[in-house]
């Protein structure tokens, strides 16, 4: 069975490496600050006791007052998993550092989040729309999206 890391457990690892990080946890979720995403990601991948070498998925949820970007991670070496989340405030230009450098598999997934949810990823090598065409008005997976196309 894949062991799911509890947020608190993972937080202790991160606190040891980044003593000034603001962390929050609940069950198996752990929230980190958006500006720290990339360095924490690199740490999670390289720390020998964690080795989260496989990025399952990058997801985003629109909670109206903020966007939540989630990283589902798995370690093939230790067969354990974790969920790392971050909250991004603001609806005009929400943005998170890209983790493509750490896990190249994030490439299309971050483009998809940008396309459909409108959360940008700083440092992404090719951040453009993936499913919809350039010039599409808005980001359809946002809760306040209204269909603007006339049929």
């Amino acid at each position: 069975m894949t062991r799911a890391f509890q947020g608190e457990e993972l937080a202790r690892f991160i606190q040891r490496r980044f003593p000034d990080a603001e962390l929050e946890w609940n069950g198996d979720s752990l929230w980190i600050e958006p500006q720290r995403v990339r360095e924490v990601a690199r740490f999670l991948k390289e720390e020998p006791q964690l080795v989260f070498n496989f990025l399952n998925a990058v997801s985003a949820v629109d909670y109206i007052e903020y966007f939540e970007v989630l990283y589902h991670l798995t370690s093939f070496e230790h067969n354990h998993s974790a969920v790392v989340k971050t909250r991004v405030y603001g609806r005009d230009n929400p943005s998170v550092p890209s983790v493509v450098e750490v896990w190249p598999g994030a490439d299309f997934q971050e483009r998809e989040v940008w396309d459909l949810m409108g959360v940008a990823f700083e440092g992404h090598p090719n951040l453009k729309r993936i499913m919809l065409w350039e010039g599409f008005p808005g980001h359809p997976l946002r809760r306040d999206f209204e269909d603007v196309i006339e049929y």
Partner: protein
């Protein structure tokens, strides 16, 4: 004096017959050698994730059929596992066995399609594909007996399955399992040692293991690169922990290995199906649940299965209403394509089509 060449950019697709659906590849060639590849998606984008937010939990199930439409059973399974996690529902044993059995039959069907189309891409026009389809057709007939549909099955439900197998299903399944080794053996004999298949696939499109992991590759493509990682074993769901099966792996990660791993997996799936038939317990096939499901507000769950194409996951968030607040689909086909550029640069046009076929994508799932 050397001949000077200039790179040429060509659009392949969105309707090229070998592109497995409406995928477009913008490829830059230097002579016949590929120097850059950019896949362009979205021609089949239906906004499944958005549609899911406007339907109740059982209605969303029909959307999942249309993701990877050659493997609807496993899509159903992943979705049901996510919803059950969200609600904290237990599934009766018989339903779990029926799920595992149908999922494995579906895996066989999907891998046969993959193998058939790969051979089609190699230039073995129509005949081998029809051999594969003949086998798959028999599996689809079984699905029709189970639920009345062949492709968009919607067989599973949160809490169990839609209906028990009818009486004449079991003899029909026995007949298929009896003739399956022969059908597969024929295919293997014809093709696995075929000179042209070997020359065109061995050492072509090599994917090293560390690159595969870094690029989040899953499923047979990952296993062909040499890592015996299968969610059915690593994190068993339903009754996979009671099943005896091996994880076939490749040693080089080339097109041939990906092809071979799929054929071997079909054999393992046959083993699992016969174990399911042997162990099938009597009992209910569905937990009693309200007609309209309302998971607790704030609940979230990530349900995943080892789909024929890789790790298929559903990340669901509930706000306590009858429709999911968010239903994110982790599609293996899309994510496996991330590595396409690394695989293709330096190879020739003809290898491109074969390599793409060996990754085995389904556009319904890539675009969603």
């Amino acid at each position: 004096m050397p001949i000077r060449t200039e790179p040429v950019t060509i659009n392949i697709g969105p309707q090229h017959p070998s592109t497995h659906g409406v995928l477009r590849l913008r490829v830059t060639f230097d002579g016949e050698v590929i120097v850059d590849v950019e896949p362009i998606f979205g021609y089949l984008h239906r906004g499944s994730e958005k549609l899911a937010e406007e339907r109740n939990y059982v209605q969303v199930l029909t959307l999942t059929d249309r993701l990877d439409y050659v493997a609807s059973m496993t899509n159903n399974q992943a979705y049901c596992l996510a919803v059950e996690k969200l609600m904290g529902v237990e599934v009766p044993e018989r339903a779990q066995y029926l799920r595992v059995m149908t999922a494995e039959l579906q895996r066989m069907a999907s891998h046969l399609v993959a193998a058939g189309f790969l051979l089609q891409d190699l230039g073995a026009l129509a005949t081998p594909l029809m051999y594969c389809f003949r086998f798959r057709e028999k599996i689809l007939d079984l699905f029709e007996m189970l639920c009345g549909a062949r492709i968009t099955v919607s067989y599973m439900r949160p809490g169990g399955v839609f209906a028990d197998a009818p009486e004449d299903f079991w003899p029909a399944l026995d007949r298929l399992m009896g003739e399956a080794p022969e059908l597969l053996g024929e295919l293997e004999q014809l093709l696995m040692e075929n000179e042209i298949v070997l020359v065109r696939t061995k050492n072509v499109g090599v994917l090293p293991l560390d690159m595969a992991i870094a690029y989040s590759i899953s499923g047979p493509v990952l296993r062909a690169s040499g890592l015996p990682w299968d969610w059915r074993k690593a994190d068993p769901y339903d009754v996979y922990d009671r099943m005896q099966f091996d994880i076939p792996i490749g040693d080089r990660g080339d097109n041939y290995d990906r092809f071979r791993v799929r054929i071997e997996e079909v054999k393992q799936s046959m083993r699992i199906v016969s174990q399911c038939v042997e162990q099938m317990p009597p009992g209910p096939i569905r937990t009693k649940l309200p007609l309209v499901l309302r998971p607790p507000a704030g609940a979230e769950a990530y349900g995943r299965v080892e789909a024929p194409k890789g790790e298929l996951g559903f990340y669901m968030v509930s706000d306590g209403s009858i429709a999911p607040y968010r239903c994110k689909i982790r599609s293996p086909s899309l994510i496996n394509l991330t590595v396409l550029k690394e695989l293709l640069v330096g190879w020739k046009l003809a290898d491109m089509i074969v390599t793409l076929g060996s990754i085995d994508i389904n556009m319904g799932e890539v675009d969603r």
